[in-house]
């Protein structure tokens, strides 16, 4: 039951990432919840050689203590929960977790285009690596299927199939195969299973698989009818199951679970929760959040209640980097570099970074390579997400749907030394079209707030309202078929003090209309040659905009963005754009 503000409970939110563990403190100041401070530590997981996540959490909390001058732990390093009369300690704790390698997952459904498709979408909402799938159309013999499952040794099996009230025979046969394979696996290696198929089979599934699976969760059907897909309830159960699987891999998670009173969620799930909440709270405003971390790129697109969460472990900028070249090429990464760098240098950086995911770029060249890598990975993740969205949200040319707000996080972006670098990374990778506001989750608070909402529904709203997100810029990105250099939009910025600025923007250009931070203005947009500035092809209109140190940005470089193939020309152009935004 969510607490009310009357309780005034302070909260410690801990995010255990693949590379960094963060501990954030929230408390009531002048009647409102505020983000007070954050401590961090390297994550003490297997990759760091430490093999106990709790140590990293203690170190992050210790740093927070030192920063705030407020003790959270006793002398033996134990968290003081609830807070003590002397002001030490904290009233509650929530945890989000992204550390750990992708979970080997087997998908099971009846029809590839129906239940198997839905269960794949479900798998994509958390850190999974799909090792195989089974469906009615599987041509393999029974013993081939069984031997393959045993050899692949999945940690998780996601099962769907059949509409509610439909036939049960076919899915029963597949369940028997799964059950037999799991039965033949060694005791400690049996997978966890989640069933989200025809509900008439729930009892039989419980009897068949309950004693064989390391854990069995039965949840509502992801395809209750052929026309309806309902991932929400299964997604929540999968989030819980993900943490349970992690706990089997890292037993110390139990300690965090006890401290947090059970509120421990996978980071992208928590992120998705808060993005959906903000979308609904903003009268169904379309919101996208993008997080690039060592473990994955996560994209959460919320269209009111309709959340589309996609986690891409293959595009994380950590250990997964050695596998990145299955999806892209070194040339495609290097094309984002505003300097001429040998391809071998880019390749070596990518491989070396896979060995040291916590590595920080030490030179400008390394910084630019890292940012190029981030662009390419977010771009690949975005293209995949767009292809998975329902037709009602898709646009022509595979462009990103219209989002009023885009929230970005991840240390590659937030650590960039110049605001212009942050902005350009996002514009190049996401390529938004129309009118969009970009904001940074500078402290990676969003997933923490998503987890906090489990215990306190006022805290996230008040913390966000208090300015926890950093406004980056409003960007107008027209879509036009005009040729390079042709004027495609006239913009008039009318400031509060009555001063105006008029500008005509040519196709291919990136232009800044200066508007200082905190100032508001009216921006009149008149598209030329049937360009679409986000109001419909050729339609003019006006929007209210807020200033930032980057001003108001008109990105007329084209959608999708096309870069010159000639390296010299491309580098020159990228340099020019970077200079325009002050990067």
């Amino acid at each position: 039951m969510p607490a009310s503000l009357v309780d005034g409970n302070s909260l410690l939110a801990v995010d255990v990432g693949a590379v960094t563990t963060r501990a954030a403190y929230f408390d009531v100041v002048e009647g409102q919840y505020r983000f007070i401070g954050m401590g961090q530590s390297p994550t003490t997981n297997h990759a760091s050689g430490m093999r106990n996540l709790v140590l990293g959490v203690q170190l992050a909390v210790e740093n927070l203590q030192n920063l705030l001058g407020k003790p959270f732990m006793d002398e033996e390093g134990r968290l003081l929960i609830p807070s003590q009369p002397d002001g030490s300690g904290v009233d509650g704790m929530v945890v989000t977790l992204s550390a750990g390698t992708p979970i080997k997952t087997l998908l099971v459904g009846l029809l590839p285009d129906v239940s198997l498709h839905s269960v794949e979408k479900l798998a994509n909402t958390t850190y999974t690596r799909i090792v195989d799938s089974l469906s009615l159309n599987d041509p393999r013999r029974l013993d081939e299927q069984v031997n393959t499952i045993i050899r692949q040794s999945p940690e998780l099996i996601l099962i769907a199939g059949g509409v509610d009230g439909g036939a049960t025979h076919s899915i029963n046969n597949i369940i028997e195969t799964i059950g037999l394979a799991a039965y033949l696996m060694p005791d400690g290696q049996r997978p966890a299973m989640l069933y989200a198929g025809n509900r008439a089979l729930a009892g039989a599934i419980h009897n068949t698989l309950g004693k064989i699976a390391s854990e069995l969760v039965i949840c509502p059907n992801v395809r209750p009818t052929l026309e309806v897909e309902a991932l929400g309830p299964a997604q929540r159960e999968l989030a819980k199951l993900t943490i349970n699987i992690r706990q089997r891999q890292m037993s110390e998670i139990d300690e965090l679970r006890i401290l947090s009173g059970g509120v421990i969620l996978p980071t992208p799930y928590a992120q998705g929760r808060i993005v959906r909440f903000l979308s609904v709270d903003g009268e169904n405003k379309h919101i996208l959040s993008v997080d690039i971390g060592a473990s994955a790129v996560s994209l959460a697109a919320a269209f009111g209640e309709d959340l589309h969460l996609n986690v891409f472990p293959q595009f994380g900028v950590g250990e997964a980097l050695t596998g990145l070249l299955k999806y892209t090429t070194i040339d495609d990464i290097a094309r984002w570099l505003p300097i001429e760098t040998p391809l071998e240098t880019v390749r070596d950086y990518l491989y070396q970074k896979s060995l040291y995911p916590h590595y920080l770029p030490a030179t400008r060249e390394e910084l630019l390579i890292e940012q190029a890598l981030a662009r390419q990975n977010i771009l690949l993740a975005t293209q995949t997400m767009v292809s998975r969205l329902p037709g009602r949200y898709r646009r022509t040319l595979g462009l990103l749907p219209s989002f009023e707000l885009i929230l970005a996080s991840g240390s590659v972006i937030t650590n960039a030394p110049a605001l212009g670098q942050k902005l350009l990374m996002l514009l190049d990778a996401l390529q938004p079209a129309g009118i969009t506001t970009l904001a940074l989750d500078q402290n990676n608070l969003l997933p923490m707030l998503g987890a906090a909402a489990e215990v306190n529904n006022l805290l996230p709203i008040q913390v966000i309202e208090s300015g926890a997100l950093a406004y980056l810029a409003t960007v107008i990105s027209p879509i036009s078929n005009s040729s390079y250099g042709t004027p495609i939009v006239r913009a008039k910025l009318i400031r509060e003090d009555g001063t105006t600025m008029t500008s005509e923007v040519n196709m291919g250009n990136l232009q800044i209309l200066p508007l200082e931070s905190g100032q508001t203005a009216r921006l009149e947009l008149r598209p030329l040659r049937n360009a679409d500035v986000g109001l419909g092809p050729g339609r003019a209109g006006a929007v209210d905009v807020i200033g930032s140190s980057l001003g108001v940005v008109i990105d007329a470089r084209g959608r999708p963005l096309k870069l010159p193939s000639n390296t010299t020309d491309r580098v020159k152009l990228l340099k020019k754009w970077l200079k325009t935004v002050g990067g």
């Binding site: 050689g49 069984v146 033949l184 089997r248 250990e319 590595y359 920080l360 030394p417």
Partner: protein, 357 residues
């Protein structure tokens, strides 16, 4: 901030866990002395399962199958043994398609587990068995020198180490691998050419220790029949001075080369003590040296390895710590001022340093 440690030690006592992929039988007892090639445990791996649909073959209902079965769960069977039969003049028989063990019956079917190969877990290093881990493996205690690396191709072997290196930053010359090096573990320069791997295979070398490897050779390296240990990483990098000195002063000694990478997704891998691939040089001692430190915090005076792409293979000493310093590229980070061995002074983020010790 806690500091990652890279062990480059002339003499230490180490504990190394050796695990099998599946449960099996431990052959050696606690306290026993082992050589690297000794088998300490064994298990059967790669078994296959045959599912035989008895109901279909006998043309009877599933529920009737139990009364026709001639074998029980757990029973060993030979090829063509009768699994089930129906009585009568025109009765049918279902022969076993292969030898194996009946592991499941039910639903009108029989499952036979068949095939598989014996997996022998070798000690890998000479030492004393200090502990057994269920039916999965053992912990071995040993003394000697140790040099840890950053990447390995997953294999393990033991042999005499020969050096083909004159300087820490040279490229491995494939022409230097000749027949006199058969059965040895080679210390060589940056692995750039596939010819090095081809020649090493032809000359049956037992392992390679190199500072770095061309990423384009990774697939070939993974397929090589011998262990390959990479000390610094990918792309041309010189060997760090500490490792070079320790290894080049121990040539002609027997060494254990463990190029296994920890499998991080496997829960059981958490029991593996060796987080990094390494070369171990067994040395006799009259008194056991201490075990290496596992936890360290950054402090002035520490010898560190610098992992800059632009300054590969460099080592230096921390002069002082600089909380939230601005790096030359503008990034703000906890950093340290480090004096490199050539006297150059640099500002490095702490994340890019490893304490050597």
């Amino acid at each position: 901030m806690f500091a990652p440690l890279i062990h480059i030690l002339p003499l230490a006592t180490i504990m190394r866990t050796r695990l099998m992929p599946v449960e099996g039988k431990i052959i050696i007892g606690i306290g026993q002395k082992v050589n690297p090639t000794d088998v300490v445990a064994e298990a059967i791996v790669g078994r296959k399962h045959l599912v035989i649909d008895i109901a279909q073959k006998l043309n009877v209902a599933q529920r009737d199958v139990p009364k026709f079965l001639r074998v029980k769960k757990g029973q060993q069977i030979a090829k063509n043994d009768v699994l089930a039969e129906t009585p009568g003049l025109f009765g049918k028989e279902v022969p076993a398609p292969a030898a194996g063990t009946v592991v499941a019956t039910g639903g009108g079917k029989i499952v036979i587990e068949t095939g598989g190969a014996v997996f022998e877990l070798r000690a890998g290093i000479p030492g004393i068995v200090a502990q057994t881990i269920g039916g999965r493996g053992v912990v071995i205690r040993a003394t000697g020198g140790v040099v840890q690396g950053v990447w390995g191709n997953g294999k393990l072997d033991f042999g005499t180490m020969h050096s083909l290196m004159e300087t820490p930053d040279e490229i491995f010359d494939p022409g230097r691998i000749d027949v006199s090096l058969r059965g040895t573990i080679l210390l060589g320069g940056h692995l750039e050419s596939p010819k090095v791997l081809q020649n090493a295979v032809e000359m049956s070398v037992r392992g390679l220790i190199v500072p770095s490897i061309n990423p384009a050779l990774l697939q070939s390296a993974l397929q090589a029949p011998f262990p390959i240990l990479v000390l610094e990483g990918f792309g041309r990098r010189p060997m760090n001075p500490s490792a070079y000195k320790l290894l080049s002063t121990n040539v002609k000694r027997d060494v254990s080369l463990n190029a296994e990478m920890p499998t991080r997704s496997n829960p059981s891998s958490r029991q593996e003590a060796s987080v990094r691939p390494e070369v171990f040089i067994p040395l006799p001692v009259s008194q056991e040296p201490p075990e290496p430190r596992q936890v360290e915090t950054f402090a002035p005076g520490q010898v560190v390895r610098v992992m800059f792409l632009s300054k590969p293979g460099r080592q230096g000493t921390i002069l002082n710590l600089r909380p939230m310093a601005t790096l030359p590229n503008g990034i703000q980070a906890n950093a340290a001022e480090v004096r490199l061995e050539n006297g150059e002074q640099i500002l490095s983020p702490l994340t890019n340093l490893e304490v050597v010790g």
